[in-house]
Subunit: 665 residues, 2 copies
Amino acid sequence: MEDVDHLAHERSKAQFDVEEMKIVWAGSRHAFEVTDRMSRLVASDPIFRKDNRTLLPRKELFKNTLRKAAHAWKRIIELRLTEEEASKLRFFADEPNFTELHWGMFVPFIKGQGTDEQQKKWLPLAYKMQIIGCYAQTELGHGSNVQGLETTATFDPLTDEFVIHSPTLASSKWWPGGLGKVSTHAVVFARLIITDDRDYGVHGFIVQLRSLDDHLPLPGITVGDIGNKFGSGAYNTMDNGLLRFDNVRIPRDQMLMRISQVTREGKYVQSNVPRQLVYGTMVYVRQTIVADASCALARAVCIATRYSAVRRQFGSQNGGVETQVIDYKTQQNRLFPLLASAYAFRFVGEWLKWLYTDVTQRLQAKDFSTLPEAHACTAGLKSLTTTVTADSIEECRKLCGGHGYLSCSGLPELFAVYIPACTYEGDNVVLLLQVARFLMKTVSQLPSGMKPVGTTAYLGRVEDLMQCHSTVKKAEDWLNPSVVLEVFEARATRLSVACAQNLSKFAKQEEGFLELAADLVEAAVAHCQLIVVSKFIEKLQEDIPGKGVKEQLQTLCYVYALNLLHKHLGDFVATGCITPKQASLANDQLRSLYSQVRPNAVALVDSFNYTDHYLSSILGRYDGNVYPKLYEEAWKDPLNESVVPDGYHEYIRPLLKQQLRNARL
Amino acid sequence: MEDVDHLAHERSKAQFDVEEMKIVWAGSRHAFEVTDRMSRLVASDPIFRKDNRTLLPRKELFKNTLRKAAHAWKRIIELRLTEEEASKLRFFADEPNFTELHWGMFVPFIKGQGTDEQQKKWLPLAYKMQIIGCYAQTELGHGSNVQGLETTATFDPLTDEFVIHSPTLASSKWWPGGLGKVSTHAVVFARLIITDDRDYGVHGFIVQLRSLDDHLPLPGITVGDIGNKFGSGAYNTMDNGLLRFDNVRIPRDQMLMRISQVTREGKYVQSNVPRQLVYGTMVYVRQTIVADASCALARAVCIATRYSAVRRQFGSQNGGVETQVIDYKTQQNRLFPLLASAYAFRFVGEWLKWLYTDVTQRLQAKDFSTLPEAHACTAGLKSLTTTVTADSIEECRKLCGGHGYLSCSGLPELFAVYIPACTYEGDNVVLLLQVARFLMKTVSQLPSGMKPVGTTAYLGRVEDLMQCHSTVKKAEDWLNPSVVLEVFEARATRLSVACAQNLSKFAKQEEGFLELAADLVEAAVAHCQLIVVSKFIEKLQEDIPGKGVKEQLQTLCYVYALNLLHKHLGDFVATGCITPKQASLANDQLRSLYSQVRPNAVALVDSFNYTDHYLSSILGRYDGNVYPKLYEEAWKDPLNESVVPDGYHEYIRPLLKQQLRNARL
Ligand SMILES: Cc1cc2nc3c(=O)[nH]c(=O)nc-3n(C[C@H](O)[C@H](O)[C@H](O)COP(=O)(O)OP(=O)(O)OC[C@H]3O[C@@H](n4cnc5c(N)ncnc54)[C@H](O)[C@@H]3O)c2cc1C
Ligand SMILES: Cc1cc2nc3c(=O)[nH]c(=O)nc-3n(C[C@H](O)[C@H](O)[C@H](O)COP(=O)(O)OP(=O)(O)OC[C@H]3O[C@@H](n4cnc5c(N)ncnc54)[C@H](O)[C@@H]3O)c2cc1C
Ligand SMILES: [Ca+2]
C-alpha cells in the first residue's frame, strides 16, 4: 500500500478553505453530510466495484448490473434509508439501470398523470418494487415528434377495454430504458382512438408487459433489447428495449386519467385539472439533468486537473524536473473554463431546483403566468449544459494526452455514458428552437407593453440594451458584475431583436422561422448563457462563509464569463456591445485570472469531494500515484493472461515462417 | 432480400455527374479503379466481416484481428497485389492491427534512418514479414517531449554492444502499436550513452524482442499489452504495448546509423547525410494522416447525410408525410459544412502528397530552404484536420438523434477508433504551438526583407493585408475566390502580427511565448484554415470534367469558407477585415448555398464510393432501408438469446416477490 500523497504540495498551495467549499458545492451542510456518507458507503462495498466493467461481455455486464441494483435495494431497506439517501446511493453506484426509469419516470408519471384512485392502486406496488415500470414513449420512427407516435389505443365499448396495437414496423417502441429485459409494466404512449375512429392524440396508458410469475411476455407482446450502444461498459448496463403490441387489451381504467378521461360510454372528457401540469413534470426532470451535468462535468474536470498537475512534459534545463502541464497557458485556457463551467452549472442547477418549487406552488394556486418562461428556461438550460458537458468530457480526455485514451483513465466510459443526455428528454437543437420561439414571442409582444418575466425580464429594457456601449477602459474594469452582466444582456437582446427583425421580412412567420433557424438557435444560446452568468453572479451576492471561498468563486465566475465572451467574440463585437480593444482587454484579464486559479486548481476539484471509486480513474486518483497504478492495471487485461497470444500458432507463426516466392512487394 | 432503393428519389435530384465526381474524389481514374476494386474485394470476403466486432470480448476480438491480418496478407500474395493495391486492401479491411506499424513506421524508419547495409540486412526480412516490427518511442512518462525519453542505450566497448535498459518505471515503453503481443522486433528510441557517460540524446535502435522460434520474449525483456482503450471494438483490435529492458544487449550495428554513428572505438560521428532527412519522413507520415482524416470525415458525413434524408420528423399536416430532417436549416447548418470539409480536406491532402514529393526532390538536391515551411504546414494541417474530423464524427452522430447512439449506426466505433489521431504523431495543441513558433519567426524576419515561401508567402504582402477592407456590398459578392481569399489572408496576417507585437513587449521572448500561448494557437489555426481554403480554391482552377462537377465543388468551397468565417466571426470583425454588415451578408449567402447543396447532398456522399461494408452502418446503408434492418439487428444482441434474462431468478424475482415491512420509502 502506497500512502504518499503526490499532490500534497498542490493542496498546500490552496488559498481557501476546502472544507467550506465542499459545503458550497454540495448545496448545504446537510446535503454534504448525506452525499459524503453515501459515496463512502458505496465505495467501501465490494459489490459496487466498477473496475472490471469495460471488460465484461454484454450478458455478464448486464447480469452484474442486476446484481448491483438488487444489492442497492437491499441496502436501502436494511439501512432504512430516506428517499434522499437512497437516491444518493443509487447515484454513487454509478451504473445506468432499470431503477432509474422506475423511480425517475414511471413513478413520477403516475403521480403526475394518474387519478387519485390510480395512484392508490399503482403507487404502493411500485414503491415496494412489486412491479417494475418503464417509460415507453419513443418509437423506431418517432422521437422528437411525440405527436407523431403511431401506436394506437383503441377503445372497445363492448368490453370496456383499450386495444393497444403497433400498426407499423416504425411504430415499435424503441429506446425505453429498463424495457428490454426487466420491466413488468410500462407507461405506454399511444394515440387514443375512440370507436367512431376519431383520433384524440397521444395519451399515456399503464400496460403490463410480463407475467409476474415467470417474467414471460404476456400474449400479444414482443419485447427485447435494442442492442449494443456506444462504448464498452457505459450505457450497455441498461436494457433499452423494443416493444410491439399485437392487439393487447387493457382495462379502461389503465389510461392515465387525471387530465382527460374516456367514460364507460366512450366519451372523451377533459377534467378540470389544468393541462399545464405536464410542464411541471418536465421542469422537474430537466432540472435533474442540469444538476447531473454539473456532476459529470466536475468529474471529468477533476480527473484532468489532477493528472495535469501530475504530468510533466518539457521545460527542464539539463535534466531537472520538467514543467507540470497544468502550468502551460494552453492547458489552462482549455481546462480552467471547464472548471468554472462545472461551478456555474452547479449554481444554475441549484437555482432551477428553486424554480421548480416556485412553479409547483404557483400551479397549485392556478397561477400559470410564469410557466411558459420557466419551461423555456429549463429546456434551454438542459440543452446548454448537456452540450457543454459532453464536449468538455472529451476535451478533458484530450487534455490527458495519450493516457486519456485508456479505459482506465475513466474518461472514455464517462463520455460514452454521458452523451445521450444531449438527445433524451429533448434533442438539444430541437429544445433550442423552442427557446427561440419563446424569445421571438416575447420580443414581438414588447411593443404592446407586455412585461417579460423571470429570466427574460431583461428584454423589458430593450431600448437601453440596444444602445448601450461597454465602458471598460482597462483590463480590471472587467472584474465588475454589472459590467459583465450588461454586455451579456446586450448581446442576447441584440441577437434576439435582429432575428425578430429578419423574421418580420417574411410573409409567413413560420417560413421565416424555418429559414432563419440557425440564427435563432444562436440567439437562444446567447440567452441561455446569460442565464448561467446571471445566476452565478446572483450566487455571489449571497453570504458565503469560509476563508477565501467567495474570492475563488468570484474568480471562477469571471473566468466563465470572459471565456464565453472570447469564444463568441463575433456576437459581442459585431453587435457593437464591445469594441475590439475591450475584447482584447478581456483577454488580458482572462489570462491573469488563470494565474489566480492555478494554485487553487487541485483544491477546487477536491471540493467536489469525489471518492476514487466514483471517479474510477487512475489518472484522477486523489493521491496522484499515477504511473505505478497504470502499470499494475495493464497486466489485468485478458490479453496478458498468456505471454504468447491466442492465435499465434494459427495466424502469426505461419506468417513468420512462410517462404515467399511470388510476392511482388 | 430487399432491392428497393429508398433513396432513389434523392439520387435522381442530383445536378451533376456522380461517376465523374467519384474520380475527382479518388484523385484519378486509376486511383478510383484500384480503390473500387479493393473495397469490393474486401466487402465480398466473409473473413473481413465487421458486424460482430463490438460484441466480442477482447481476446476473441484480438484473435479475430490476427486472423484477418493473416488472411489479408495471404490475399495480397495470392493475387500478387501491387503495393498500392495492398495498402488499399488493408485500408478497407478497416481494423487497426500490427501491420499498420510494420508497414507504416518500422519499414519506413529503417529505410529513412538505416545505412545501406542495414537496409540490405533488415528490409528483405521485413518485406517478407519474416520479422514483424513496431515503433517504440513513447514511454509511460514521455510522449510529446521525445528528447526527454529515459530508456538508455549504453555502448560497451568491451563487447562492441549497446546495453538497452529501462532505468525507471516511467521509462517503460508505453503505447507502441503491435508491440504488446505480436512484434518480434522494434525500432526502440533510447538515449545514446557512451562509456565516458556522455549523453548524446535520443537515437533509434533495432531490437529483437521475441524469439522467432516460440515467440517468447527474449531474456531481459518484459512485454505486454497496456489494456483496454476507448470504445468497444475500435482500437482494441490493436495490441498497444508496454516494454521494459533489463540490460538487454544488442550488437553495435543495430543502431540506425545513417545520420550519426558510433564507431568500434566508441566515437560518436555525424555522417554527411543531412539531419533534415528526419523531417522528410514526418512530412510523409502526417500527409497520410491528413488523407485519412478526409476519409474518416467523409464516412461519418455519408452516414449522417443518408440517414438525414431517410429520417422524417415533424412538419406534416393532417397525417401526411413528415419533413425529411435534412430539410431543416439547423440540420443543414450542422451537416453541410462537414460535407464541405470532407472535400476540402481531400484536396489539401492531395496537395500535401505533392508537397512531399517536392520536398523529397529538394532534399535530394540538398535544397533545405522550403523544409521548415513544409514541416510547419504539415504539422498544422495534421492538427487542424484531425481535430475537426474527431469533433465532426461526434456531430454526425448527434445529427442522427437517438439511433446514432446505437453501435450499429457505425458512428460510435468510428469515433472511438479515430480520435487517437488527435494525439499520436504529435499532440494537436503541441503541433499548433510549433506552427505558431514558425509564424512568429517568419513575421519577425519580414522587416529584414526575408521573403516568406510556400504557404506563408502571403505574409510577404503584410502591409497590404494589414490595411485592406473587404469590398463586399451584397451577398453574392462573397461568391468570388479572391474576395474570400483576401479576408482569410488578412485575418491570418492580422492575428499573427498582433501576436508578434504582443510578444515584443516581453523582455524575454520565451516568456512571452508561454504567456501568450493561447493567442498564438489561434493565430496558427487561422493560418491553417487559410491553407485549406486556398488549396480548395486552387483545385477549382484546374480543369475538372463532368457535368456539373465543378459547380458542386465551387458551392462546397464557399460553404467551407463562409461557415468558417461565421464560426470565427470575432477574428474577422475585431481585426477589421470585414464589417458586421458584410458578415451578415456572408450569412445570407451561406443559407442560400445550403439550398444549392440540398438536392445534391446524397449524390455528393455517394461520390465517396463507399461500400456498405466499409461504412458498417445501418443508418448509412446505400439503399436507405433503415428501420427493418435496425429491427433485425437488435435481435442479434446476446441479451436477446433468452426471453427471460440471466440473473432473473437471483436478482429480479426476489425483488418482485419480497414482502417489505420496514422500508421507509
Ligand atoms: C440512451 C437513451 C435512452 C433513452 N431512453 C428513453 C426512454 O426511457 N423512454 C423513451 O421513450 N425514449 C427514450 N429515449 C429516446 C429519446 O428520447 C429520443 O431519442 C429523443 O427524443 C430524440 O429523438 P429522435 O431520436 O427521434 O431524434 P430525431 O428527432 O430523429 O433527430 C434527428 C435529427 O433531426 C433533428 N430534428 C428533428 N426535428 C427537428 C426540427 N423540428 N427542427 C430541426 N431539426 C430537427 C435533430 O436535431 C437531430 O439532429 C432514449 C434515447 C437514448 C439515446
Ligand atoms: C492509440 C495510440 C497509438 C499510439 N501508437 C504509438 C506508437 O505506435 N508508437 C509510439 O511510440 N507511440 C505511440 N503513441 C503515443 C503517442 O505518440 C503519444 O501519446 C503522443 O505523442 C502524445 O504524447 P503524450 O501522451 O505524452 O501527451 P502529453 O504530452 O502528456 O500531453 C498531455 C497534455 O499536455 C499538453 N502539453 C504537453 N506539452 C505541452 C507544451 N509544451 N505546451 C503546452 N501544452 C503541452 C498537451 O497538449 C496535452 O493536453 C500512441 C498513442 C495512442 C493514443
Ligand atoms: Ca478567436
